[in-house]
Amino acid sequence: MAKKVPQINASSMADISFLLLIFFLVTTSMDVNQGLARRLPAPIPPDQKAEDKDINKRNLLVVKINSANQLMVQGELTDVKKLRERAKEFILNENNADYYPKVFEEDFVLNGKTERIKYTKDHVISVQNDVDTQYQAYLEVQNELVAAYNELREACAKKYYHKSYNELDEEDQKLIQKVYPQKISEAEPKNYGN
């Protein structure tokens, strides 16, 4: 007769695993780390003076946020919800208006084909905020501007690749980024009208 192995008492196993479970519940947090990714400009070397880059007025979209979180686009009081459309209009300049950035026509190789695309090469969106501006208001503006670029890129990807921008591989994304380069400049905060 085979020797019988005595049964191991596993009743405390549940307690042990409960303990582990509770430990993990306490030490971890549910929130995922996500955020609005941005890139800061490189610092100016100390021996070099800060130069004001001369940008043609038509190529510039000035977005100002004051201390009361009010938004001003090109000198007009605007609502944040309208900023995205405004930025898209500015970046595209479909009607070749002379108060919007200069339109260039260039050949891009997209999806293996050479496409002639009109785009505004030199546009700059300048965001200026007050020292007392609320962070949420600032981030909303940044968010809308990034959203404008994302929507344009998405449309471009749909048009030439028949795919969503996020589904493309990195190289193709870079090609589209060339058509719609993100140009959001941030000035140092100043005190605007208190």
């Binding site: 596993a10 009743s11 196993m13 549940a14 042990i16 695993s17 409960f18 582990l20 479970l21 993990f24 519940l25 030490t27 971890t28 947090s29 549910m30 929130d31 995922v32 780390n33 996500q34 955020g35 609005l36 990714a37 941005r38 890139r39 800061l40 400009p41 490189a42 610092p43 919800k81 905020n129 007050d130 020292v131 007392d132 501006t133 609320q134 962070y135 949420q136 600032y138 981030l139 909303e140 940044q142 968010n143 990034v146 959203a147 994302n150 941030e186 140092e188 905060p189």
Partner: protein, 156 residues
């Protein structure tokens, strides 16, 4: 003939709990996979602002955090209710950020140093003056890849 047994004691059969550990382990693994370790204990309290165009921070080992907010209740007596910056486990001044970044960067693998991302976790009511100071300090320390921590906004 059927006999009615009155005196016999009825015992509850023992509940088979052998699958309980398995169930608990399943729960444990579920929680382990959906949650992430807390980086530090917060000394400042903050509520993330909301945005829509969010990207996930992929590689945790490349991310360093800067917390900005008002001190939590237990530290309020000592540090006041003004907006403060927290680096790692301590309160810090703006000018300490540069040193912190350089230290953290030198502790990384050389191939990863250029990929370091700084996540700014700031309260949504923070004044931009503080954020701008932090940004300047980060620029000076050549930590140019940043991410403003935010939560997904569902509607306006």
């Amino acid at each position: 003939m059927a006999k009615i047994r009155r005196n016999e004691k009825r015992e509850m059969p023992a509940l088979n709990t052998s699958s309980l550990p398995d169930i608990i382990f399943m729960l444990l693994f579920f929680f382990m996979s959906v949650t992430s370790m807390k980086e530090v204990s917060y000394k400042v309290q903050f509520k993330n602002p909301q945005a829509t165009e969010l990207t996930k921070l992929e590689n945790k080992s490349l991310v360093r955090y800067i917390y900005v907010g008002t001190p939590t209740a237990e530290f309020r007596k000592q540090y006041g209710a003004e907006t403060r910056i927290q680096l790692n486990d301590q309160f810090a001044e703006v000018n300490e950020i540069g040193e912190y970044i350089i230290n953290e960067r030198s502790s990384m693998k050389e191939s990863d140093q250029g990929l370091m991302t700084v996540s700014i976790k700031a309260d949504k009511d923070t004044k931009m003056g503080v954020i701008a100071d932090i940004k300047q300090e980060l620029r000076r320390a050549y930590a140019l890849k940043i991410s403003y921590a935010a939560t997904q906004r569902t509607s306006y």
